[in-house]
Symmetry: C2
Subunit: 264 residues, 2 copies
């Protein structure tokens, strides 16, 4: 049996596609679903398990599968064997009968600030929504990875931003990366730049049970601009929710003219 395109056009409530990279069972996505359910028709297509650090990976070697987990008034939930980006793609191409009004990704267990936008499956899904022309927001909880983290403030700010984006849209080629600190006392929302930095001490060398060397990814973030009040790490460290508008166009325009003279 083919999964049918959902027949959702009748009511024309806003159609919201939700995914994440921690998997459909994670607390973060379920808190997000509950928090934004009143905003429209919700279709969830989320990985069937953890896909952290999957970036914008797509399943180019194997087919993906969907499983319908729930179908009730205004809420449909599928699990998907693919990546977060696959979830958005298969939803828009095969499941939904119209373009969603909003893609929400998250709420991620752990922050996706600074250079983590490059590695994050949550942001991968957000960028994918944006590539497909849909206003898209990624929401992450800083900096709690625990399965039972407190998402209260992340849900509050996520819903607030979602409502605004539903009402106003976003510029073409721009999506939003929202990180919310886990504290009862968030100081407000701050529009920020992406903090420059990188990870150091990235591996824990170990041995498998047979004595063979393996490398576990680990490490710590080195912030290259810790005192800059404009960037998202500064905002999060000072108790603000950090909202970074991201763009799909990665062209380094500032060097373009110099490179034309030098390379052509």
């Amino acid at each position: 049996m083919r999964h049918k395109k959902s027949n959702m056009t009748q009511k024309q409530k806003p159609l919201i596609l939700i995914t994440n990279d921690d998997g459909v069972q994670a607390k973060g996505i379920n808190e997000l679903i509950a928090g934004v359910r009143s905003l429209g028709q919700i279709v969830v297509i989320a990985p069937d398990g953890a896909r952290s650090g999957m970036s914008s990976a797509i399943s180019s070697q194997n087919p993906i599968r969907l499983q319908l987990l729930k179908q009730e008034d205004d809420l449909t939930i599928y699990s998907c064997t693919g990546t977060p980006v696959d979830c958005v793609k298969v939803g828009v191409n095969e499941i939904l009968d119209r373009q969603p009004d909003l893609v929400l990704a998250g709420i991620n267990h752990g922050s996706n600030s600074a250079v983590c936008v490059i590695y994050s499956g949550t942001i991968g899904a957000t960028l994918e929504g944006c590539i497909l022309g849909i206003p898209s927001v990624g929401v992450s909880l800083c900096c709690r990875h625990e399965s039972d983290a407190d998402f209260t403030q992340a849900v509050r700010y996520g819903k607030q931003v979602a409502e605004k984006v539903l009402a106003e849209g976003l510029p073409k080629g721009v999506c939003l990366n929202l990180n919310v600190p886990q504290t009862d006392d968030v100081k407000g929302l701050k529009v920020c730049t992406q903090t420059p930095g990188y990870w150091i001490k990235e591996f824990q060398p170990a041995q498998d049970p047979f004595g063979r060397p393996v490398y576990w990814l680990s490490g710590e973030f080195l912030n290259e601009d810790p005192d800059n009040e404009a960037n998202d790490e500064w905002a999060l460290e000072h108790g603000y929710a950090a909202l970074v508008p991201l763009q799909l166009d990665m062209t380094a325009y500032s060097v373009l003219d110099d490179f034309k003279k030098s390379y052509e």
Copy 2:
């Protein structure tokens, strides 16, 4: 036995780390190795099989393993069970005894122009080199995916750009995405912008042998700016090698002030 950091400082030739996303056995990476071998000390750490479409994915759930395949004068080759980004990370953190002077990724079987920079494992590895502060170049062959494609011109232009980057470096936070058409008659190198566009008709629904629905990723690229002579798709279609400088900072600076007024 732990893999030892290579002792390569004696000669102080340029140290070049090479990876790809088609796997260590692919023709493209082996043509690249042969083409740039004269430029310095070469260390190859490449996936043990195909990792196309892996973007900047990292192995956050499982450890990675390395296998030493070759060690001879100025050329060391490892295969790695991880992603292209893992290959760069484990090389810089665990294998090399100094920072490489250059990261080369490719030569990819197939183009990585336009929005493919978001999905490409080749570009994922290139961005990773850049994140770690290393001048980095991704090289792709447009638009031949065949295992026996002709890489002659891609090697020629890849080597030319590699030599220039070794001599001059790259600005901080900027790396290069080089796509070369498969033709004997490349018109030259053109510095370009990233073409806007997206993929349509992205899945081929099918059934597995048990009659269950599966979705194979497929699709075709829709170019949103086909007549713009500045972008990389235009250059490739007109017989040029396309060089796009990419930046790590994805902040949409052009909307920042408006968003501050609107969201804060």
